[in-house]
């Protein structure tokens, strides 16, 4: 599979602060769902902002789909790589939800009809039809994030970056959203880069990149990460409940595989139990 995002010896530094990345190289394959984890202040968000040109590297090169990110290509790359912020208030511009969704498309010179079509489609998808004429600030935190996600989806991006983006969604909305993301990824061959602390979200991804001290220290599967207690602690993470419980059981001498969820765990503990069809 081709790499859609490639960092070659990237250096980055915020003004008047210590260097964040000196020589960072990594790549993310097209269609993959990649989670970025690391200790607080390790530069996870900085890394994702470099990916869509919100920040510019001091040295090295960044390529998106083979195109090198520079002053000429940055606006094109903005469109191809959607960025969803942690706090949805940072994402709103217009006075109504609908206008806000239209804003990004207006910059892409789409026809009025096409814009309306996309707004309708995405608002139904995300269940926000009833709010289209409301002011974004009149929505609750979780509702705002759904609107922000809609504003991104109408642009039909190739890569989506989630910077702790689902942390304000309630559980049901988050789960629905995750299901939808899995679907979208398959349908549109979407690449997802997610910065998150959520165990379930990490578990849902294909690959985890661990960033520490400005370096890529590990690239592994979610399960490989969750069984490394020390690394988890460093990244301020906790494993999913089923993994934690499997580990607790093993610690007490019970011979059980490490399970991803409660269902797997019950099956592993009592294979003779009738499995619900």
């Amino acid at each position: 599979m081709a790499a859609i995002i490639r960092f070659n010896q990237v250096g980055f530094q915020y003004p008047k602060r210590e260097s964040m990345f000196a020589d960072l190289s990594l790549h993310i394959e097209q269609g993959q769902w990649v989670t970025i984890v690391g200790p607080n202040g390790s530069g996870k968000s900085t890394l994702t902002k470099l990916m869509n040109g919100l920040l510019a590297p001091r040295s090295g090169t960044i390529q998106i789909g083979g195109v090198t990110l520079d002053g000429h290509t940055v606006s094109d790359i903005h469109r191809r790589v959607g960025y969803l912020f942690q706090n949805p208030d940072n994402q709103f511009i217009a006075a109504t939800v609908q206008d806000d969704m239209a804003f990004g498309m207006e910059n892409r010179c789409l026809s009025q009809e096409e814009m309306q079509r996309r707004i309708n489609q995405v608002s139904v998808e995300l269940g926000i039809q009833d709010w289209l004429h409301r002011h974004p600030s009149s929505l609750s935190g979780g509702q705002k994030q759904r609107v922000a996600i809609a504003g991104l989806l109408v642009l039909d991006p190739e890569v989506m970056i989630w910077d702790e983006a689902t942390s304000m969604l309630d559980e049901q909305a988050r789960r629905e959203f995750m299901t939808r993301m899995r679907q979208l990824r398959v349908e549109r061959r979407l690449t997802i880069v997610s910065v998150t602390h959520d165990a379930e979200e990490i578990m849902a991804s294909d690959r985890v990149l661990v960033i520490k001290d400005g370096k890529l220290v590990a690239g592994l599967t979610p399960m490989e990460l969750f069984v490394q207690g020390e690394l988890l602690q460093e990244c301020c993470l906790r494993p999913p409940f089923a993994v934690e419980l499997s580990l607790e059981l093993r610690r007490r001498g019970v011979d059980v595989d490490i399970c991803r969820d409660e269902e797997e765990l019950v099956n592993a503990l009592w294979p003779s139990c009738p499995v619900k069809s």
Binding site: M168, L237, F241, L249, V254, C273
Partner: protein, 357 residues
């Protein structure tokens, strides 16, 4: 006396310049006692945040009434001069950056105490103590709040509220956007405040999982109404209501349900223990091992019984009884189960025990 009590509280937002009205809260009645940890649960838009804003008069009821400490808010009566109340009710909003504004963390932490009439000296002291309570190092005092990490900012915002020494601490989604370790720490910190300082803590959240080990009382909101209030055990007995209110079941409850569905026998053992549903992974590990052992023991007994003739079985049970007799008397009863041969042995043993006495 309850420190907050609400009677049929309702709140109507006025939209489109008064032409349309929508109820954000309806018919909310409850009482909160001092020193307790309350969790208000509900999905996005259920009215949790609207309710919070009634606690220090940012919003005032349009229907019914709510008494907070010694201030009564009643529909139609606009309360003013709320500074004394606001000193005693600390509100921490969803995003801490909304609450921090000064050049240094110290100024932010001293702002409340100074506003509420403390001297410069006292305010400085209060700021330090609050910082210590939330576990931030003194070095951050001179820093700009916006240099802090998300977790530190959250703690600083809570410290800024604690510095005024409120009786009631109300936090709106305090753990959102924090990493899991900081979340756990924060909930533990809030729990300590109730136990050690007798503060009343109210947390609005949609993550039941993380408040479960700490909160003693729960309120469940749905579409502006209070659909449940009660203890942890009562809440956990209502999985359908939780799902109906748009909440994810906590992992502990999911596991419990799976056991119920799949293995009636095992879950009945859980119940027979007469204990609350285990919450943490280690509590669950202990309990599952217990359940397995009991199950295996029963199975062994059953298998053994089937293979042996009634006479041999009685003999074996007798031997078992005798070997355990020295250990403890209470154990006798366990093996006295139902079948014929066993009943026989049981009577024998009882007689034998009486003889010995």
């Amino acid at each position: 006396m309850a420190i907050v009590s609400s009677e049929k509280l309702g709140y109507q937002y006025v939209v489109n310049g008064g032409s349309a009205q929508s109820f954000a809260l309806k018919d909310i009645s409850f009482e909160w006692e001092q020193g307790q940890f309350y969790a208000i649960l509900g999905a996005a838009g259920s009215g949790k945040s609207t309710l919070l804003q009634h606690l220090n008069g940012i919003l005032q009821p349009t229907v019914g009434r709510i008494r907070v400490l010694d201030v009564m808010f009643e529909a139609g009566v606009k309360q003013k001069g709320l500074k004394p109340l606001r000193k005693r009710v600390g509100l921490v909003f969803q995003f801490p950056e909304q609450q921090l504004f000064a050049d240094t963390v110290e100024q932010d932490l001293m702002f409340g105490p100074l506003q509420f009439g403390m001297s410069e000296q006292e305010a400085r002291q209060a700021a330090r103590e609050a910082l210590h309570t939330v576990g931030l190092p003194e070095a951050v005092l001179t820093m700009n709040p916006f240099q802090l990490s998300g977790g530190q900012m959250r703690k600083a915002a809570i410290a800024a509220v604690l510095a005024s020494n409120p009786d009631l601490l109300v936090l709106d989604e305090p753990t959102a956007t924090l990493d899991p370790l900081s979340r756990q720490e924060l909930i533990q910190l809030l729990h300590r405040l109730t136990v050690e300082q007798g503060k009343t803590v109210v947390v609005v959240t949609h993550r039941l999982d993380e408040v479960l080990p700490a909160a003693s009382h729960y309120m469940l909101m749905k579409a502006g109404r209070l659909v449940f209030q009660g203890s942890r055990a009562e809440l956990l007995a209502q999985p359908l209501q939780l799902q109906d209110a748009g909440l994810a079941l906590p992992a502990a409850l999911r596991l419990r349900q799976l056991l119920d569905e799949r293995c009636k026998e095992r879950s009945s053992v859980l119940e027979a223990k007469g204990q609350e549903v285990p919450i943490t992974a280690s509590e669950w590990a202990e309990r599952l091992i217990e359940v397995r052992q009991i199950h295996q023991m029963r199975k062994r007994e059953q298998d053994g019984e089937q293979a042996l003739s009634p006479t041999v079985r009685s003999t074996k049970l007798l031997q078992q009884q005798q070997s355990e007799q020295s250990a403890e008397l209470g154990a006798n009863v366990y093996y006295a189960i139902t079948r014929d041969s066993e009943s026989a042995v049981r009577s024998l043993c009882v007689l034998k025990g009486e003889d010995e006495r």
